[in-house]
């Protein structure tokens, strides 16, 4: 798939989708974009706005969606006037939304019935990653489909992982983000325990980071204010990955666990801690590392 002459349709131009589409245009692709909010369409540098999802899906080689939840994805592709019947047979569909695995499989299967290859490719890396083109893609679908899409992914991100068949991208992301919630809550709890017993949060953080307690949150996302200059905690927990988004992802983990009769006690407790935190501390729109407040209320001014 060469860049020159390849046309990409892109639907869903929020904080993530907008910059992703712009990066595709920047890389030389012809990009047709659509969003229900007209202002967002105008904001994508280098792309051509369209007046409907149907327009954006017509005559494109690659079609990408970045939407809030499974029902939107289902509706876009398979709903009344869905784009499934408008896409070219040899088009490659990439859904970058983070949605429930069951819907991802259902849509892939619906498209496959029309001969169209679909990848589920949820991302991690946040809005900064979207802007800088350093996202991580966790891809479900065929190896052949992933190889066809590789240049597209490379224009928007830095890491591409193949998780398995259709839906596997969503499952891997669900597992990863559930684990992330556990890491963050566990780290916040351990830091609070140490500080309450007289330790310096910076000293304790450094010890655990280099010992068997080491984890991603201690490396780049320390939840205690002032320990890491660049962390959300050091700027009042503004921006970053919102508590509400983590709660959403933990909801997907619960659904996945219920459908597969899986026991996920740590993830379930984490969900309740983040939900309590959102309610008790009005923290839904703060970075999720503000869960530190739940264990060290004195940090909350």
């Amino acid at each position: 798939m060469t860049t020159v002459g390849t046309t990409v349709g892109f639907v869903g131009l929020g904080n993530m989708g907008g910059p992703m589409a712009a990066n595709l245009a920047k890389a030389g692709y012809t990009v047709k974009v659509f969003d229900l909010v007209p202002a967002l369409i105008a904001g994508v540098k280098g792309a051509t706005g369209t007046s409907s999802a149907a327009d954006a899906a017509t005559d494109v080689d690659v079609f990408i969606s970045m939407l809030p939840a499974g029902r939107h994805v289902d509706g876009l592709y398979l709903g009344e006037n869905g784009v499934a019947s408008l896409l070219k047979k040899n088009a490659l569909v990439i859904d970058c939304s983070t949605i429930d695995p069951a819907t991802a499989r259902k849509v892939a299967s619906g498209l496959a019935a029309k001969g169209i290859t679909m990848l589920d490719a949820p991302v991690s890396g946040g809005t900064a990653g979207a802007q800088n083109g350093t996202l991580t893609f966790i891809v479900g679908g065929s190896v052949e489909g992933l190889e066809r899409g590789r240049p597209i992914f490379q224009a928007m991100g830095a890491n591409i992982y193949h998780a398995g068949d259709s839906g596997a991208g969503q499952i891997a992301k669900v597992c990863n983000n559930m684990l992330l919630a556990v890491l963050m809550a566990g780290t916040a709890e351990a830091l609070a325990l140490g500080v309450k017993n007289g330790l310096d949060p910076k000293a304790l953080s450094e010890i655990m980071q280099k010992s068997s307690g080491g984890n991603w949150t201690l490396n780049v996302y320390n939840p205690w204010p002032g320990v890491q200059e660049t962390s959300a905690a050091s700027r009042g927990y503004s921006g970053g990955f919102l508590t509400d988004l983590m709660t959403k992802d933990l909801g997907l983990a619960m659904e996945t666990a219920m459908q597969s009769q899986s026991s996920i006690p740590m993830g379930s407790l984490a969900r309740n801690l983040f939900t309590s935190h959102a309610t008790l501390n009005a923290a839904g729109r703060l970075d999720f590392s503000s869960i530190q407040w739940l264990f060290a209320p004195e940090l909350k001014r």
Copy 2:
């Protein structure tokens, strides 16, 4: 503190203490050792056996203990016929046991009353680290005391961290190991959820390791059999860090939390999971990563 002419007393010669004392002898120290089990005394290469803890504490520049629990440490130093009154005033005392912080502080304070400096210096790194001299020491006590002890630590280990004042070494270790338990249980749970939904454990492990789910257990201690050749999981969970020892450390975390009125929901749940696992799966003497069985019973033959 030069090695030549420095005499070290060492009490507690189990799987950890024995090799640690031998490494001191190997480094050139004159080492006097004691244990209640005579066979262990004979096993320490290069050291001189003594007939009592009192003997081992007499006329030494440094005195080291490596015992199972707080009550043993309390008894050794401050009990009837405790060594506190036998040690030289300028002796340096290093307790490498993993015990409750309250006892560590009590003993340090009792020794300080006699003018003796004590460090609490629990280790991590396991029996392999003890044998190879690559242990990590997490040290509580004065900076001056730590500097005096540095050559001694270097003879037995590779990393030395200063956690804070007396007791801080124990607290930092308690926090770290509680977090480790959370990482391991959370990782095992995430892997099981993925596998139950069709993912390959190796692919999922790699994705999470490189993403925001990354943590020490995924790096070097993967709990799913076959994912990492050298992990305990790949040799039937034999050896390593026993479930019973993790349960003991989580008990210290509970005590520390109760004494400081701290809420540690994730650590508490982890304690119950490991305790249930020990009982339900008769896994007390298996490596603690066997907690994987709790989430994927099919792995248990």
Copy 3:
């Protein structure tokens, strides 16, 4: 609503629905029944079999459904060829299924659009209650609807509670059964703790039952074998309320909590304990009080 001349349609004739329909016939109602399994139709004493749900819904004054899950209820009433358009305008619809509140509200609203009154009326009391006509109905919908249905409920049960508007019956049942799961798990855990510390389970049960630990499970459903002659525990946990059904109800609680952004830590932990128990102890088809095994594995032969 007099019994004589009142015709009732009944769809869903399993362990619960079958005896409920039979009790209506016994009370003098003219009852038309249907189930996808023909053998079940024949088994309802005193009722007239029909060949389709549509048949059972035609020309009846009251229409009752007792189905496994929300999607079945949705399909029966509002799906393609749904009975909504076949029912008489002044018919009273009673759905006795235990389903998610959102679906209950959706169906009630769909029927209301056609002028038909619907009640959601999940039951408790088990198969024994269904046979003996001693069920408890927890009813959502209008007071006027409930009064119209009262004679019908009385023919099948002993207690009728009004929980609130449409869907409220389902919500109240979800709350109650989540609490029941917490009571059972908590009681099993307390009994195991006492027995492990030397207490007699019967003595401890009696003390707690009469003290502030008193709860329904200690009164009539003691989970420790031998404490109550008539409890499921005393007959090998056979029959009763299956672990799989409790897990299903806890799933509804999770969904309800996620939709309302509620924190339910105790209920979530209970869900994971019952799910683990089902898997680890192959206990899905045993009475849910067998959760006792999770805390006292020695009881499991």
Copy 4:
């Protein structure tokens, strides 16, 4: 043991001990009392004050203690100048304190070595029960000892249960209060879930109370304000059983579980919820039913 001529020593005259001693005097016993706070001694109607615990223990037929924690009980009986050596051989000792079972057994064993019979007899029923003489006693020790003490218990309370041998009274109380914490947290959580989904707290309470969710807290201690006129919730959670006391009792449960390698996930979670509640909501000195705030923050003005 006749009342006339029987002399009772009583140490520990707080909110519970004071009224208990007064009830003994009222019943006709000769009562000698002591407390470290002189004002409390003067406040016990009908009793004779003494100047030391030793005085109160001398020449008495029955000796009763009501102290805050295990170390106080240990010190009173077996410490330096402990009363163990002052008590008459045929004296009956009753410790009504709520303490850890291990200390209860240790003290009973120390007294037995001197031929003295001891009962551990923690109470429930609160300050109102102490004043009105309606306490419940949960007794550990010999049946013969309990029979000797029966008239004494009857003068102070309404219910007497025999839990088993020495320490069993403490264990049974620990189990009961852990279960109570689970009932209260579970009930508060279920009520909040229902209310958040539109139910009336009174209607839901009544339904659950009469159904399988029925438990002591719904009967007499409803945590939702306004549902029960006489509950602590309806008077701003003042008085009653303080959150701090529940946290203390849950700490005893944790210790008992750790010493017996027991898994108590529900009780552990409850401890963390009550500890979080005490910290986040500054609720340590409020009634423990204020845990309702954790699930329905809107109730907190």
